[in-house]
């Protein structure tokens, strides 16, 4: 019906459009992909290390206002649970990790933060806004996706964590 060249070019155009489209965001019930990235404070931060615990994985950047608001609230939440039950880990997405280190020196938190200036990890999770966080259960399944951060989000989040922590399966 169509000449071969036309079909080839159409296919190339569709392919380039498909490649440019962002990966779909992980949703409730999806398995969180494992990742390892260098930590801002040195060493490596790896999601697999925390398997068996409830994990709150937060993607943040120093230039993002709501992220700055979320950091101390998440640190407070972390302190409310036993370290063997619940952990917060963060992935910083600043293009210049020095900005994140400077930010954390002024507003330190007690949980580890990985540095991913190229945005490889958020692409795998399909992060579509800043900040985006994933509440992951003990078996590594995403149970809640938190987009943005407001003060009123802490209480419902605490409830969700409590439920997941109580689930010892």
């Amino acid at each position: 019906m169509f000449p071969a060249r036309f079909r080839a070019i159409s296919a190339a155009a569709l392919l380039s459009a498909a490649l440019a489209a962002p990966a779909p965001a992980l949703e409730k019930g999806d398995r969180a992909p494992d990742f390892s990235a260098p930590g801002l404070a040195g060493g490596t931060v790896s999601l697999a290390t925390y398997r068996g615990k409830v994990v709150f994985l937060d993607f943040w950047a120093s230039w993002c206002g709501p992220c700055a608001k979320a950091l101390p609230a998440l640190d407070q939440l972390r302190k409310e649970f036993k370290p063997g039950d619940f952990q917060v880990i963060a992935v910083n997405l600043d293009r210049d990790p020095k900005l994140a280190v400077k930010f954390l020196s002024k507003r330190p938190v007690g949980y580890p933060s990985a540095s991913d200036p190229n945005g490889t990890v958020p692409q795998r999770f399909g992060v579509d806004s800043m900040p985006t966080s994933f509440l992951i259960d003990r078996s590594g399944v995403v149970r809640h996706v938190q987009r943005g951060f407001r003060d009123g989000d802490v209480a419902p989040l605490r409830e969700k964590i409590q439920k997941l922590v109580a689930d010892k399966r």
Binding site: F6, A13, A17, A61, D94, Q123, V127
Partner: protein, 69 residues
């Protein structure tokens, strides 16, 4: 006709429109990238213009023409 369509598709594919990922918006988040770097000053300027000239610019603004704003 076919060649035109093919060229159009190729042009669309090569248009250079790249999606800006949420974590790449650092430059856009800078205060000097805001439409209005000084919202309070701009509001004051609008109020002075309205009071002096009795006219509103194209932007959003209160007042229903009663002159009591």
């Amino acid at each position: 006709m076919t060649r035109c369509l093919a060229l159009l598709l190729l042009a669309l594919a090569c248009s250079g429109c790249a999606p800006v990922r949420p974590w790449e918006r650092d430059a856009l988040a800078r205060p000097d990238m805001a439409w209005d770097p000084d919202p309070l000053g701009a509001q004051l300027g609008k109020h002075i213009q309205f009071s002096k000239e009795g006219s509103l610019d194209g932007g959003p603004g209160g007042g229903g023409g009663c002159g009591c704003n």
